[in-house]
């Protein structure tokens, strides 16, 4: 229906644009899968850093494909870079295979015409599995493109391919001849030209590490260029979107830094403002997440109060409150951060010989990295930051400083009102229609959206009862309970261990979310998954209330790869009960590790419906919202 969208849908179900990778990449991947084992031969056998950047193509191909490949090998002996360049010129001769596999015409039409249809959803999620793997690797690859080798991870994926080509491996490693080098150079040039043709975006991606790299990039590039020509609009949208992302990657620690990588941790430490001592008994499975000694961080940050010149007081205060746990909850943290940024923009003045756009972006980057040190960003905050940076980047150069500042401040204001306040109102309006007289509603923890729904429904005079399920150590439900009881709502309070009992009487489960990911996974306060699963088992509908600005294109299958770890002391101690101190001095015990997870991932199977500001949608429709929402966000 939409001409722009057509080329993308061709490859879509398999590769949604997930995670962080080069703008051109996703659409082409399906095509390049078969070609790549050929083209990427040097890195695979030669184990060069470039192989990392290629990880998207390293996925072991499906069974039939491998035979296909070997056949190809049989009649196409060792591939030289020359040949690759040639392949680039005549785009994807082998791409057809994939299309037949993944993109039956039915899926295409289904997708474009009725994105919400469940059949598509199932397809999408099956595709998502692989793409999530891809995303992970791509992310890693991008991070490490320029520096670190870190091969072992890819190793697994490589094995199969390596076996295939064990025969020809030797020849591959040989130094290229003069003619070949020449060809490589030309390929490089062509790549650069192509990048320029596409606009500024790919320039970063096209910065070439070594010739081999180019070779592999080349076909991708050519394809993407072609794609982009056919759908200029789409590519442009991504261009403007990706730019700030790239900036961030360069200047601040990546939000999902792998903390088991000693090198990177070391580097990050040098930059950091808050002195962080790593906990001694780190939980093995979660080594990739930051695990710090909690007690020492607050006093340290406090004592540096007057030494943090680069951090604006308002931002400092917000960070301090994050660290101390005074503010929690996705919306509140996001609003607090945005308001602090507003303050800092108000007080901002451009230094001489610098442009506002660049300087302000670096400033904001500094603030963000400071906030990350205080507490890892929530996804809502990440989205808000991305929004703000895009706005800064989009400022026209003609604006005077005061105009630009006023513009940004009003932008932030409108973000808060539109994306959070009004969104909540709309959610309340939708959700209230689902509450009938006599309902028993169960909620877990304390979600601002759920609270608004409940109090609004109460104001409307609906007769219902609320069960608040709470969990240690935060016991956030108690505050919610206090407020609801204060308003005269009939409440029951229980802890999560009793959820299977209480679920008998419940008619609906209302839950908040920290984020909803594009495979429909709900990322929320730990315990949510448990409640949702029990509800599912009891055939109780689970409604997730989440503003659309919290949606994220990432895909996550478990709660391990991205999560946040809280203070382990919080679960070892019971407040007000000093006599229960079996775990005193646990840090000195070698073989004891305490895990205080903050979030968990609820699979979309357990979610009946997501209530957002765009209406009530099934979890499978999240990717659509993500896509549409982002476009709207960028084009206003």
């Amino acid at each position: 229906m939409d001409p722009r969208r057509a080329p993308r849908t061709v490859s879509d179900p398999k590769v949604r644009h997930v995670g962080f990778f080069a703008p051109g990449a996703p659409p082409d991947r399906s095509h390049s899968v078969p070609t790549d084992p050929l083209t990427s031969s040097p890195p695979v056998s030669g184990i060069s850093p470039a192989s990392n950047s290629l990880s998207p193509v390293m996925i072991p191909p499906p069974r039939p494909l491998s035979t296909d490949l070997s056949r190809q090998f049989a009649h196409s002996p060792p591939v030289s870079p020359l040949r690759v360049a040639g392949a680039a010129d005549s785009p994807f001769p082998v791409g057809s295979y994939n299309q037949s596999e993944f993109l039956s015409p039915t899926t295409t039409t289904e997708y474009s015409e009725d994105p919400l249809s469940p059949s598509w959803g199932r397809k999408g999620s099956s595709g998502n599995f692989t793409s999530s793997l891809l995303a992970g690797e791509i992310e890693m690859a991008l991070e490490e493109q320029n520096s670190v080798f870190n091969l072992p991870r890819d190793g697994g994926a490589n094995v199969e391919i390596q076996e295939l080509r064990a025969v020809s491996g030797k020849q591959m490693k040989e130094k290229p001849t003069k003619a070949e080098r020449r060809a490589i150079q030309e390929a490089q040039r062509a790549a650069k030209a192509a990048a320029k043709g596409q606009g500024s975006k790919t320039s970063a991606a096209a910065t070439v590490v070594n010739p081999v790299n180019v070779n592999i990039k080349k076909p991708v590039k050519a394809v993407s260029q072609k794609k982009d020509n056919s759908s200029v609009a789409v590519s442009e949208k991504r261009v403007s979107d990706r730019q700030p992302d790239k900036d961030r990657k360069k200047e601040i620690p990546h939000p999902r830094m792998q903390f088991d990588d000693a090198n990177r941790v070391e580097k990050a430490k040098k930059r950091s403002v808050v002195k962080q001592i790593e906990a001694r008994n780190r939980v093995e499975l979660f080594r990739h997440l930051p695990q710090y000694e909690y007690g020492s961080r607050l006093p340290d940050l406090e004592s540096k109060f007057f030494q943090l010149d680069p951090v604006h007081p308002a931002v400092y205060k917000v960070g301090l409150r994050y660290l101390a746990g005074d503010i929690s909850g996705g919306n509140a943290r996001c609003i607090a951060m945005l308001q602090a940024f507003q303050e800092s923009i108000k007080d901002y003045s451009t230094p001489q010989e610098k442009s506002l756009i660049r300087d302000l972006t670096t400033k904001i980057n500094g603030y963000v990295s400071y906030l990350i040190e205080c507490r890892p960003l929530s996804i809502s905050m990440g989205n808000a930051i991305r929004f703000l940076k895009t706005r800064i980047a989009q400022l026209s150069l003609n604006l005077s400083e005061s105009e630009a500042k006023a513009n940004l401040i009003s932008c932030i204001d409108s973000f808060i009102t539109e994306k959070i306040i009004l969104a909540d109102k709309v959610i309340v309006k939708h959700a209230v229609t689902k509450i009938r007289d006599g309902d028993v509603l169960l909620t877990h923890g304390s979600s601002s959206a759920v609270e608004m729904i409940l109090s609004h429904a109460h104001e409307l005079g609906k007769m219902f009862r609320v069960v608040i399920v709470d969990s240690r150590p935060k016991l956030e439900g108690q505050k919610l309970l206090r407020r609801l009881v204060g308003k005269g709502v009939h409440c029951t309070y229980t802890h999560i261990n009793a959820v299977s009992y209480i679920m008998h009487e419940v008619t609906k489960v209302l839950l908040g979310a920290s984020s909803v990911l594009s495979n429909g996974t709900v990322y929320s306060r730990v315990g949510t998954a448990c409640v949702a699963m029990v509800a599912h088992q009891f055939r109780v509908p689970v409604l997730i209330c989440c503003e659309a600005y919290k949606f994220h294109e990432r895909v996550q299958l478990d709660s391990i790869c991205s999560n946040e770890l809280g203070d382990p002391d919080a679960i070892s101690k019971v407040s007000g009960r000093n006599e229960i101190n079996a775990l005193d001095g646990w840090a000195n015990t070698e073989n004891l590790q305490l895990l205080n997870l903050t979030y968990d991932a609820t699979p979309s199977d357990y979610v009946s419906m997501i209530i957002t500001d765009y209406g009530m949608i099934p979890p499978t429709s999240v990717p659509v919202i993500v896509r549409e929402y982002r476009r709207e966000n960028l084009w206003i």
């Binding site: 006093p299 007057f306 943090l308 509140a332 009004l422 909540d424 109102k425 601002s448």
Partner: protein
């Protein structure tokens, strides 16, 4: 960070009578051969607070102090020294420089503080809670064994400082009650409303008010303007703020609006929602709970302000030079346990002997001692746990234990000094024996005299 620092350097303190004089104001008393004020200023300098306002009581003292500062800290700090009339008290001093205060928050320090606690910590606690006032409390330093021996009559203020009754909320972040020891009768009165709102109160007597406060400027100015009779920050202003924290009818303009978060200037509906959202998400202190509770019963919610407290870690050194005992304690600690504050490099024997000092044969200087520039000592002297100033001339067979000897003191042969403080230019003739005495500047102790627990000073001073 939008903080202004005010250092209160009271001029001439009655409690330190033989030590201080017109020539030596309190903040210039030497601690380990450096004026005590330098400790505060260096602490501030370390924390990048280079612009200060300094208030001194009395013109002459102000002159002395400003000349000292300009000679020592010439490039390092920007200090404005302001003189205020004597006996206006700390509150009065701030009233006098009212027009100078412009920043959002004011950090008020006493000039006689010797501490290593970063003022940033207090400021951060203040900002974190948006408090009206934040006070720093520290644990009472260990005072010397000879406390009982020191002259009792002058200990009133010292006791007041030491035996504060402090009430804290369960999280140890808010101040619920404060009473200085001097005003305390046999019973203490605690406000019911505060107790009810906070639920629990922990009463501590082992904390000392370190006289480092962070005030919200608007609050401070308002209190000072409205309550003309308030003299002292510690005795009047702070208890007043603590008392009225749940019914602060005072701060209706300005102070309140930025108190409960920036979302409170609510006109539009969405703004109300916003602030509600923020308030619900943040951990409420008992103030907010109280305001919330009353908001439901009464149409107008009650105004509150927060009085926060920062309790310094026990391991950090913190003391105030506000009594004679404190003076010798601080001197002892600075060259002893808390030697890292002094900024000197200690020798292997744990003492500091200036290279230009001359020691006679068989003279021993024990650990935790300090001998200043150009001092000379005769034979067979013994110095233990004492500080000796610059250019002192000490004869033979002199014993100095647990004492402070300031500059240009001459001590005859065979003297014995124990637990005493000897000010500058004092002359001790042969075989004088002093135990637990304070000797004022330029006093002459006659040969062979023996004093115990006395305060000696020139006639016209007494």
């Amino acid at each position: 960070m939008d903080f202004q620092v005010v250092v209160l350097a009271g001029g001439f303190s009655k409690t330190l009578v033989p030590l201080v004089s017109k020539e030596v104001p309190k903040v210039l008393l030497p601690v380990a051969n450096r004026p005590v004020l330098s400790y505060v200023l260096e602490l501030l300098e370390q924390n990048d607070l280079r612009k200060l306002v300094k208030v001194v009581e009395g013109e002459s003292a102000a002159l002395l102090i400003s000349s000292w500062i300009s000679s020592t800290f010439v490039d390092r700090l920007q200090v404005e020294v302001t003189a205020v009339p004597e006996d206006v008290g700390t509150a009065g001093a701030l009233r006098a420089i009212d027009h100078r205060l412009t920043a959002k928050d004011i950090l008020v320090l006493s000039g006689d503080l010797v501490s290593e606690i970063p003022p940033g910590a207090v400021a951060a606690a203040h900002r974190r809670h948006d408090a009206a006032v934040t006070a720093m409390l520290c644990s009472v330093p260990v005072s010397g064994p000879s406390e009982s021996g020191s002259s009792g009559a002058k200990d009133k203020t010292k006791k007041a400082g030491r035996y504060n009754i402090v009430g804290l909320d369960p999280t140890k972040q808010f101040l619920l009650h404060i009473a200085a020891g001097a005003e305390m009768d046999k019973d203490i009165r605690v406000q019911k409303s505060i107790l009810r709102a906070a639920g629990q109160m922990e009463i501590r007597a082992d904390l000392m008010d370190a006289h480092m406060y962070a005030f919200k400027r608007s609050v401070l100015q308002e209190v000072l303007n409205q309550k003309e009779n308030f003299q002292s920050l510690r005795r009047d202003v702070l208890p007043y703020l603590v008392r009225t924290q749940l019914r602060s009818e005072l701060f209706l303009n300005g102070a309140q609006s930025d108190e409960n978060g920036s979302g409170m200037d609510a006109v539009q509906n969405s703004k109300v929602l916003l602030s509600q959202l923020l308030a619900n998400a943040s951990t409420p202190s008992f103030h907010e709970m109280y305001a919330l509770d009353s908001a439901e019963s009464a149409p107008i919610s009650r105004k509150t302000h927060k009085c926060c407290v920062y309790i310094a870690n026990k391991s950090k050194y913190c003391a105030r030079l506000n009594s004679i005992q404190a003076f010798s304690d601080i001197n002892r600690d600075i060259v002893g346990d808390a030697s890292h504050i002094s900024g000197y490099n200690f020798s292997n024997h744990n003492n500091i002997i200036h290279p230009s000092a001359v020691l006679g044969s068989k003279t021993t200087v024990g650990p935790h001692c300090m001998v200043g520039e150009g001092s000379q000592m005769g034979d067979k002297c013994s110095v233990k746990k004492s500080v000796i100033g610059r250019h002192c001339r000490i004869g033979s067979n002199v014993k100095i234990v647990n004492s402070v000897v300031m500059n240009h003191v001459s001590i005859g042969d065979g003297c014995s000094i124990q637990g005493s403080i000897i000010c500058s230019n004092v002359q001790l003739q042969e075989r004088a024996v002093l135990k637990d005495c304070q000797v004022g500047a330029s006093f002459v102790v006659t040969a062979g005299s023996e004093y115990k627990g006395e305060s000696l000073a020139k006639k016209e001073k007494q």
